[in-house]
């Protein structure tokens, strides 16, 4: 789809500001067949998700979703986590250049900010179908806030985060980089606060040994950076394919340094993961049972195959082999990472609930691990979230002319 893409306008020299946006809208009408096909597929996925979500609400989530009394959080929660982790990561990676002034990272910043807004919106889209009463949420989050609740802080701070990111992006489009930098900094602060609170949603559940402790908020932040690096590399490449352009030296350099961030953060997460297991095995029976499920039990393929191999070890090897130069290796590694990380979130959320709370009591009802299988409704909603990111990415590339308005 990339080769015969329209080249009528040289987007690099397009005027900034809203005039540029207008030009971009016009350009969106001149996409290739491949572009439109991707656009339509994404749109259909989104529509199917809306239909599935509304149907689930209509027949009752108890019937539509795989989640149960014992495993109340399913793939919708883990996918929400996946999207918001990605969003926070994109924000952090973009901030290295655009907020903290490391020049090499500048070229990826604007697209990263745009995608961070779209991925958090995808997260909100998915969780809107998980939350049973979004209307009550809108009212009582405001008039009856519980300040000890991490989920309250997480939701509120993510709201602020999305607001800051949107304002920041607007100022970038308007070519007002100074204000954008200040707002961007506020976005980073809100994002880190929100994201560590998301970790704490799990880490503060003192009845759930698999999650409980300070590990989760810390792990979530490190993990976000890893996701962010992979996502921006992958989408930058995809954008150039879509727009049919060649990367300039600055962009190549940006991807090279982002690869280095990726190498560092994958190593950090591998380190974290190793120690989670080592410390976990001297813990209680319930925690050991959860870890065993990942190591040798029913989640072993997810863990070793998807999380460790596809999500971390192979990408790490490819990143290193690429020396930051071989784009094919870098992009392959990033795509594998994104895929693996999706299951990393899934395992984290699901396995944490699969050890019955009465497991250590030794009662007949709970001698086995619990199980959870996502339903068709849930899977459709997840695909819709992905469709949302695809759709907005494709539109964004055209409307904002490849996110090229200059950042200095």
């Amino acid at each position: 789809m990339a080769e015969d893409v329209t080249k009528t306008a040289d987007v690099a020299v397009m005027p900034g500001g809203w005039a540029g946006v207008r030009g971009g809208v016009l350009q969106a009408l001149q996409g290739t067949k491949g572009y439109y096909a991707a656009l339509i597929i994404s749109g259909l996925l989104l529509l199917a998700a809306v239909a599935a979500g509304l149907h689930a609400k209509y027949i009752g989530t108890m019937h539509a979703y795989g989640a149960t009394r014992e495993v109340p959080w399913g793939i919708l929660i883990s996918t929400y986590v996946f999207f918001v982790v990605t969003s926070t990561g994109l924000c952090l990676v973009s901030a290295i250049g655009h907020v903290f002034g490391v020049k090499d990272f500048m070229p990826i910043a604007k697209r990263a900010i745009f995608l961070s807004i779209m991925t958090i919106m995808a997260g909100f889209f998915v969780i809107a179908f998980e939350i049973e009463n979004p209307l009550r949420m809108a009212i009582y989050n405001v008039i009856s806030p519980n300040l000890t609740s991490n989920i309250w802080w997480m939701g509120t701070l993510y709201g602020a985060y999305m607001f800051f990111m949107a304002i920041e992006f607007t100022f970038l489009v308007l070519n007002k980089p100074k204000i954008a930098t200040i707002i961007g900094f506020m976005g980073v602060v809100a994002g880190v606060a929100a994201h560590s609170n998301l970790g704490a949603v799990f880490g503060m559940l003192h009845g759930r040994e698999f999650w409980y402790g300070p590990y989760m908020p810390i792990y979530f932040i490190a993990s976000a950076m890893m996701s962010g690096a992979a996502t921006i590399i992958f989408f930058t490449w995809l954008a150039y394919k879509t727009n049919g352009q060649k990367m300039d030296a600055a962009m190549k350099r940006a991807l090279e340094v982002t690869t280095k961030v990726g190498i560092l953060l994958v190593s950090v997460i591998l380190f974290f993961t190793a120690w989670k297991f080592i410390t976990g095995f001297v813990g209680g029976e319930a925690k050991t049972a959860a870890l065993e499920m990942l190591l040798t039990g029913s989640y072993a393929f997810n863990f070793w195959g998807l999380e460790v191999a596809v999500g971390m070890v192979i990408p790490l090897a490819l990143f290193i082999l690429s020396k930051g130069q071989n784009l094919k290796l870098i992009v392959t590694a990033s795509a594998l990472m994104i895929f693996g990380i999706f299951f990393m979130r899934y395992d984290l959320v699901i396995v944490g609930q699969l050890v019955p709370v009465y497991y250590e009591l030794g009662v007949n009802e709970y001698t086995q691990m619990l199980s959870y299988t996502p339903s068709a409704h849930e899977i459709l909603i997840v695909l819709g979230g992905i469709g949302f990111v695809g759709l907005t990415f494709l539109l964004g590339e055209k409307i904002f002319s490849g996110h090229k308005s200059e950042i200095h």
């Binding site: 989530t61 109340p72 049973e132 519980n146 000890t148 503060m204 003192h206 009465y358 007949n364």
Partner: protein, 251 residues
């Protein structure tokens, strides 16, 4: 595990009835140590038993924070699994068919000397440090400031199910009619607030396995049981740190 060791060490399998006096004494000693009775009144004060049972600091033992401080003592060995408590609960609280507020778990011990199976009734523990209340974003679930019961205000429930994931006792379910999470409220809405003295389950139990009352009242049966030096009182999953108000004992 200890039991197995004592039974098998130095003994042939076919005569488990004969246990040398020393072994027997060691076993009893160990039992007393475990239960804390061995230390007797000289070391353990009445309050520290409660402290132990709560598995927490003495803040509750010194002064109960609620008046009445509703509590339930479950005599585990009295439960015969007749399930009348479950039926009564469903009836009193209009519990939907797909949910339950209390149930009876069973535990088998094939090596036990007499009864091989015991029954463990479970319900919301009305914790003093409830993870559900901590996690609820909108205060839809909260500690009743008067009596310590963990309540639900359905209209505020957004259905995020954090409380369900948080609960160390699997005491919560989502009600599709009210679109809110529900749980045991010690029959506060259905009975106590209307002048009744007992929960439906406690009233229905023919074996007096469930004793309900005010833990802050020294004359109450629950106070007497929990503060009895001769008995061992425990809570489920003390490691979760939720400080339950449902106690378990035998005898």
């Amino acid at each position: 595990m200890i039991l197995n060791k004592i039974k098998t060490e130095g003994l042939k399998k076919e005569d488990p009835g004969i246990i040398p006096a020393m072994e027997r004494r060691a076993f009893l000693k160990m039992g007393l140590l475990i239960t804390g009775v061995f230390a007797g009144g000289s070391i353990l004060s009445a309050t520290s038993i409660v402290e132990k049972a709560f598995a927490s600091s003495r803040e509750f033992a010194d002064k109960y924070p609620y008046k009445p401080h509703y509590s339930m003592v479950i005599h585990q060995d009295r439960c015969i699994d007749c399930e009348l408590c479950m039926t009564a609960c469903v009836k009193a609280n209009n519990v939907p068919t797909y949910g339950y507020r209390t149930r009876i778990l069973e535990r088998d011990d094939p090596k036990a000397s007499e009864r091989k199976r015991e029954f463990i009734p479970v319900l919301c523990n009305q914790c003093n440090n409830p993870p559900c209340v901590l996690g609820c974003p909108t205060k839809a679930t909260y500690k009743n400031p008067a009596n310590g019961i963990v309540m639900m205000e359905s209209k505020k429930c957004i259905g995020c199910k954090t409380c369900m994931a948080a609960c160390p006792y699997n005491a919560r379910y989502f009600n599709e009619e009210t679109m809110a999470v529900e749980k045991c409220d010690f029959c506060f809405n259905s009975r106590l607030s209307k002048g009744e003295k007992l929960t439906a389950c406690a009233e229905a139990c023919p074996a007096k396995a469930r004793i309900f009352g005010d833990l802050s009242d020294p004359a109450s049966e629950v106070y007497q049981s929990v503060h009895n030096l001769e008995k061992t009182v425990w809570v489920l999953r003390p490691e979760a740190g939720a400080k339950p108000n449902v106690f378990y004992m035998k005898g």
